[in-house]
C-alpha cells in the first residue's frame, strides 16, 4: 500500500523578536499554534497528535518543556512527541509529524518548534565546563569561521561573497512581516563595514538571537480536500546524521548533507535540482553558508556555488531565489529556525508568502542543519499532490 500523501494545510508564526517578555514559553507556542489552526480553519478538537521540537533543554533550562506545554497545545488525551536534533530540530520535527500522516497513524497533526533565546544562554548551554577538556576558544562563530576559510581556499571564491548574501537576506526580510531584523537603511557598504568578529565573518553576516515559534498543521488527502486554502504537498523528506568530528569529515560539504538531499530528490523524482526547484529556504546562520550549501545540495558543482550568489541567481528576482523570507540571518529562534525554513518553503508553493512570494513557485526545498554540521533535515514541497 502506498504512503498517504501529506499536505501542509495550516501555517503560523510569531513575529520573531529579540525578546518576548510579555509571554511565557506556553504563551509563545500558543500564539504560533493558534495562527496555524486559524489558517487551516481547524480547532484543537481536530488535532490527533502534537509533535514538538526545540534546541537542547539547557538553552532555557526547562527540562522536558513539552510536558509543561501540553495544556497550551491542546495535547491532553493525545499523543505528544518531542524531537531533538540540535539546530536542525525544526526540520526533523516536521518530518516526524509528516511520517505519522504518511503511515496513516493519524490524519491531522500539529507540529511546532520554538526557542526563547532571550531567556536562554545558548553559548553556556553549548560549552559546559567539562573537566580535563580545553574550553572552546571562540564561540559558535569561531567554530564555523575556519570552515568558511577552508571553503574560500578550496574554491577560490572572492572574499566579497559573504556580504552579498547578508545584504540580500536582510533586504528580503523587509518584505517578511515575521522576520526579526528589519534593517530599513541596509546597504552593501554597511554590511562590508560592519565589525569583523571572527575573521572572515563580519557582524552583519551573522544571525541574530530571537524569540519565536512556528507551527504547521499537516493533514492527509481528505484533510487537504477540506482545507480552505491551497495545500503544500510533501514530495520528499529525509534526515541524515554523522559525527561532529571524525577523520575524513568534510566540514565544507558534509556527506550527510549530500546524502540527505539525494534521498529527497530521489523521492521527489528530481534529477536536476537547479532547474526543477523554484525556490529554496536553507539554513544559513553565517552568510557564507549559502554558497557552501548550494554545492552541498547539488544546485551547483563543487567550487561553483559562490558564482550563483555573485551573479544574482539567488536574489529574489533571480532564477533560483534563496531565502526570500530573509532566512536565519534575519530571524533565529534556534529550535524554530529549521521549521521556519520548511514552513516558508510551503508558503511559497501555496502562494501564501505575501510580499516575498516568488511568482509561480511550484516546487520548494526547505533545509535545516544542526550541531557541528552533523544533523541534516530537508523536505521538498509542491503545489500539486505527488503522483503515485
Amino acid at each position: 500500500m502506498a504512503e498517504e500523501p501529506v499536505a501542509v494545510v495550516g501555517i503560523g508564526q510569531t513575529r520573531h523578536r529579540a525578546a518576548r517578555r510579555d509571554v511565557s514559553l506556553a504563551g509563545l507556542v500558543r500564539e504560533a499554534a493558534l495562527r496555524a489552526l486559524a489558517d487551516a480553519e481547524l480547532t484543537w478538537a481536530d488535532i490527533d497528535a502534537v509533535v514538538i521540537g526545540k534546541a537542547p533543554d539547557f538553552f532555557e533550562g526547562v527540562m522536558m518543556p513539552e510536558l509543561y506545554l501540553a495544556d497550551a497545545l491542546g495535547a491532553v488525551g493525545k499523543p505528544m512527541l518531542r524531537v531533538h536534533t540540535a539546530g536542525s530540530v525544526g526540520g526533523s520535527t516536521a518530518l516526524v509529524a509528516a511520517d505519522l500522516i504518511a503511515a496513516r497513524v493519524h490524519t491531522t497533526v500539529l507540529t511546532l518548534a520554538f526557542e526563547k533565546q532571550s531567556e536562554s544562554n545558548a553559548m553556556w548551554g553549548l560549552s559546559l565546563p567539562v573537566p580535563f577538556q580545553q574550553p572552546l576558544l571562540a564561540g559558535a562563530g569561531g567554530f564555523f569561521a575556519p570552515h568558511i576559510r577552508a571553503y574560500m581556499r578550496r574554491t577560490g571564491a572572492p572574499d566579497t561573497i559573504g556580504a552579498l548574501v547578508a545584504y540580500k537576506d536582510r533586504r528580503n526580510a523587509l518584505r517578511n512581516p515575521y522576520a526579526h531584523l528589519h534593517e530599513h537603511g541596509i546597504t552593501l557598504a554597511k554590511v562590508q563595514e560592519s565589525p569583523m568578529l571572527w575573521d572572515p565573518i563580519r557582524y552583519s553576516e551573522t544571525c541574530p538571537s530571537s524569540d519565536g515559534a512556528c507551527a504547521m498543521i499537516l493533514a492527509d488527502r481528505a484533510g487537504a480536500a477540506r482545507a480552505p486554502r491551497p495545500a503544500a504537498w510533501v514530495h520528499g523528506g529525509a534526515m541524515r546524521s554523522e559525527p561532529t568530528l571524525f577523520a575524513g569529515k568534510d566540514f565544507v560539504s558534509p556527506r550527510a548533507g549530500k546524502d540527505c538531499a539525494a534521498a529527497v530528490y530521489r523521492q521527489a523524482r528530481i534529477t536536476d535540482p537547479r532547474r526543477e526547484i523554484d525556490v529554496v529556504e536553507m539554513y544559513v546562520p553565517f552568510s557564507w553558508y549559502e554558497p557552501m550549501w548550494l554545492e552541498n545540495l547539488g544546485f551547483a558543482a563543487e567550487g561553483e556555488g559562490w558564482k550563483l550568489t555573485e551573479s544574482g541567481v539567488t536574489e529574489l528576482d533571480g532564477d533560483l531565489p534563496v531565502n526570500p523570507s530573509g532566512g536565519v540571518l534575519s530571524a533565529n529562534p534556534i529550535g524554530a529556525s529549521g521549521m521556519i525554513r520548511f514552513a516558508e518553503a510551503a508558503l511559497q508553493v501555496r502562494g501564501q508568502a505575501g510580499e516575498h512570494q516568488i511568482d509561480g513557485a511550484r516546487r520548494a526545498l526547505g533545509h535545516a542543519y544542526g550541531g557541528g554540521s552533523q544533523f541534516f533535515a530537508m523536505w521538498l514541497v509542491g503545489s500539486e499532490p505527488p503522483t503515485t
Binding site: W44, D71, V76, E119, P135, L137, A138, P146, R149, A247
Partner: protein
Amino acid sequence: MPQPLRAPLVVEFPFTRSLGPVQSAFLTGLRERTVLGVRTADGRILVPPVEYDPVTADELRELAEVAATGTVTTWAWNPAPRRGQPLATPFAWVLVRLDGADTALLHALDAPGPGAVRTGLRVTVRWAAERTGSITDIACFEPYEGESDPYEGEPDPYERERVPYEHEHEPRPRTAGGHDGRFDDPVTGIVAPARLDYDYSPGRAQSRYLHALAERRTVGERCPSCRKVYVPPRGACPTCGVATAEQIEVGPRGTVTTYCVVNIKAKNLDIAVPYVYAHIALDGADLALHARIGGIPYDQVRMGLRVEPVWTASSRYPDHYRPSGEPDADYEVYKELL
C-alpha cells in the same frame, strides 16, 4: 594501566523567565500574601493557576483568590533535605488543597516527624519574611489548629475525589473571591537558578591521553579497521564503530589547516584580542585539533603554517602553538584534513 580520571562537574546558571499574565498575577499575589487561582469555564478553581485549561485547552484568565489554609491530600516524608530545598530540617512534601481550590499545590510542610503528618491534616501558609514574587514567598506550610475544616463531615479529601459526580453539584463552601489579579508593580519575570552536580570521568582512552600530556607527549589511538589515528582518542572509531587500543605518539609539530581571527573577547577567557584560533593537524594525526597560535602577528598566520607547541608550567594543554621555522606545508599535503 592508570585509573580513569574523575572530577566534579557543576553546571550552574541563573535562567530568566517571562511569566505571562497568569503566573505574573500568581507570584505578585504571593508577594502580597494573597493566593490566587484561575477559574475554568466549568467553575473549577486551579491552584497553582495555569494559562490554559488542562481539559479543554481554553485560555484561562479569570483569577480568583483562595484561602491561605487548606488540607493535605497526600504527602511524603523527606528525611534528608538537599541544598536548595525549602527547609533545611527534615520535612514533608505535601500536596495541599487550599480552601476554595479544586486542585492541590505542591509545597513543604514543617512538621516534627512523619507521625505528625496525615492525609486530611489542616495546614496554613507560613509566609516568608521577605517576599519578592516567588513560590518561596510561601516559606512552607505548617499545621493549623484554627477554624475547623470546612469539609468536615465529608469523606477524606483524597476519597472525596472518587465520589460520584452528582455530589459535586452541592454547593461547596468557598472562600474563593473575584480578585482581578491586578497589583501595583507586578512581577513580570523571575530568575530561576539551576544547578546540576555531576561526577565526571573522561573514560580510559582520554585518561591515557591526559596522563601522556602530563609528560608533554601527545598520544592518540589508531583504528584497527580504517587505520586512522584519533587525537584525542575516544576508545572507539566513530566511523567504523570498533574499539581502538594501539597507542600512537603524534606531533609535537603540526600544520595549520585553517583558522579564524577572533576579534571579540569571550566572557570567561583571559586572552587579548585579536588572536588566531586554528585547526592544527599534528604530524601523524588524521584529524585536526583546535588551539591558539602565538609568537607571530595575527595577520601573518596562514594555512599551511608549520607550528610547534609552547608549554607553560600551569597548563594541562599546550598554552598555544608558535611557528616552528619550517617551510609552509604544501596545500596538497593537508587539504584532506581540512
